[in-house]
Amino acid sequence: MIVNRTEAILGRVILIVVLIATVIPLVNMLSAALQPADTNPTGLTFPTDPQWINFVTAFEKGNVWRLMGSSLFIVVFVVPISLVCATLAGYALGNLRIRGSRFLFIFFILGLTIPFEALIIPLYYEVQGLGILNTQWAVIFPLIGLYMPFSVIWMRAHFVGVPQELSEAARVDGASRWQEFRSIQLPLARPALSALAILLFLWTWNQFLLPVVLISDPLNRTVAGALTFFQGQYSSSIPLLNAGALIIIVPTILVFVIFQRQFIQALLQGAVKG
């Protein structure tokens, strides 16, 4: 690659400026969180006497354990159920190519661009009718449905790429369709599945609209949905609000930093396929 020196240096400088701009709002939260809880803080300063106690206060006042538990409960149902349903349907559409699979595929694509806001009003009354309004199920079931088009299309794309010869060979050897699916298709699908799992986890954990509308008690929401509760709780204290918000985003950032290669890969593929 031919790149001259000035360009290389200019590129570095611009990149560093952008990186700083990306990080500043987060650092700024930390700077606010460390200032005395009962003051109105000013701008980006590193306090001489950092109030780490604010994190403890925010943690207790915000019922963070309970919130994390509630989020985890929602994720633990949404992600595995979505994965199972999407894998089965993706296999049927991509590998079995059943009659009508083209129609099914288009039927799922239809759901891909529907904004959640367009469905939120009827969802509210549907969930109310089911008697699960204000429980975590009010978010779990609709989210599985709303993520389904993307998940199915994602898994279909994987199964389309698996050579048909593999299935034929298995069938010649007398394997039933289910055996073939279990012992040949599933192991091959592991990378596609784990990327999808990462995406679904992130989307569920960060989901805001559904929990805010469908669960009135903020403590039963996802952590993201509970941020509004923090805003109410700490309306008088910017330091505590920022401490609370940081407590909520740090676990995600940690998980991201640990699995960052998989995360970036998954998000990029997710963007292209979505």
Partner: protein
Amino acid sequence: MTSPIAPRRAAAKAAARRGTLSGWMFSVPALIFYTGFVIYPLVLGIQYSFYRWNGVGPSEFVGLKNYIRVFTDPTLLGSIGNAFVLIAFFTLIPVSAGLVLATLIRSMKPGPFSNLSQTILFLPQIIPLAAAGIAWSWMYAQTGAINQVLNAIGLGSLARPWLGDFQTALPAVGLIGSWVLTGLCTVLFLTGIGKIDQSLYEAVRLDGASWWREFITITIPGLRQEIAVLVTITIIAALSSFDIIYTTTLGGPGRSTLVPGISIYRIGFTQSNVGLASAFGIVLMILVLACVLPIQRLARASSK
């Protein structure tokens, strides 16, 4: 006289039918969730949109009245207008900034610095949008970092509560979207540039082409697919924005940052006008489709 093939063919057909049947069985769980929680509410929403209903009492059929109101009520039209303004910040800025950044840093050798910058650029993509809203409310506050910087460089007269000012609230909220989406665009473009044939770059360089010419003749055409994808995603994000606005301005001051998502929420749950809110939801869905379909078609046509 029956040919010996006939029964075999019938058996094959039966097997195929069984195959189709078991194949459909595989799709049933996905179909149940999808029809139950996407298609059914969609149909329900269409039905509500023709009624006047407060959510509890009796409902009254009003025909297209709700739709007419969506397109004539200045508040609702205003919120659609704001959503289109947001496209400039959610789509135009991140996609063009991403293109430029990706071109500039493509020269970077893979190493700890390039990995670190990828990680950092991706951070806004990981945290909940609602948290981004909280972080930026504080950046924009009267005593926040933006005004602090302005004061420090002698532009203190420009300092203001950015989210509370009628003139600046919408761009301020839009820039939060730019902050969230620029990293995604940059990283996706970087991987796209990696796939462009490097000899093309060398060829134009040998012809003495400028940086700009190279950008226009090779980079942009080479990234067509990525551009189409990102424009689609970011337009959807702009038109259906909710989280950021909810945690920063709630649509205010006045109606200056009101967007369809917030309008639907307010009309449906605060004002209990379920019919109108549902109609607005359907309109929003059609708007998104009307913006996304042409882009998809264009991308497909140009890739042929």
